[in-house]
Subunit: 196 residues, 2 copies
Amino acid sequence: MTALDNLSKALSRLPGVGPKSAARIAFYLVRSSDDYNRVLADGIATIKQKVKPCSICGSYTENDPCPICQDASRDRSVLCIVEQPQDVITIQNSGAYNGLFHVLGGAINPLNAVGPENLSFGQLLKRIDEGSFKEIIIATNPTEEGDTTALYIRHLLKDKPQISLTRLASGLPIGGDLEFADRSTLVRSLRGRIRI
Amino acid sequence: MTALDNLSKALSRLPGVGPKSAARIAFYLVRSSDDYNRVLADGIATIKQKVKPCSICGSYTENDPCPICQDASRDRSVLCIVEQPQDVITIQNSGAYNGLFHVLGGAINPLNAVGPENLSFGQLLKRIDEGSFKEIIIATNPTEEGDTTALYIRHLLKDKPQISLTRLASGLPIGGDLEFADRSTLVRSLRGRIRI
């Protein structure tokens, strides 16, 4: 069973795919159609040639600069800073944001040896100096690393009081149940309570 | 973002991979190594050429007959009937079974138009007639379809009283908590209770 074992092993390195799901996917691929397997294999083999980081914002794109950076209809006075390229898609899909993006490439995480020098802060400062941003929204994850990164950005921009610096609200997820909220979420949602 | 969208769409057809995990995997593949993407793409592109159903038992193999059917050290008086090729691996990995296998290719499921004629019962009867099995273990899933299939096998073999017909025990999973057991599992585990 070497071919199946090798394929399972390769699949189990994908994010969110454990050894059991990897085996299940490998067996599925034995009985799926030739066409589907070819499309999937081609997609995986060529994705790195087709998709590159945008030289301006760092999100993934087939044309450089990316469609968002090129879109003249977007609000160029607002910049949303995210950790990863997929966060751009998530915020785009919300339909609630029409400004520009900046992808840091991660969050500051000393335990994993990710310092500010490993993230695109140089390019960020260059964009801020050359652009005319009125508001910068920090949309790093609501984790210890994301919070550290947000604090670092506040420190970076402390001599630019003309730019309003904001952070995405943290709190109870919509449709969630108070009973199942973890303590840190509840603390954040109390501290960030809003007047109605 | 067409290349990423297409890859996400293809990935989301894999079992256990929803649209969100598919997007996450697609983004991961953009920043993973060229070598890894090539190994994974090659594995997917070639798996169907390399792996075929065993002409005897129906499990997946690179050499026909499969290593289990060829293994002279296995107990040829016991046959374990399973639904899918991956079930062979699961039971093999338990280390608690040393007989032969027979893969049905699914379970009887009238709602999905899977009848006995779609499963390998012909080959099963042929093997039973030509072999010298003393025990047949039905290891179909503990679901309505698996139970129906088990009943059908009992009916098929009703004129072979020399073969002892057994079914895998159902009950509480080891390490599980009684409080979280669902009703049907509890009913099965009561009905199948054993003297200690």
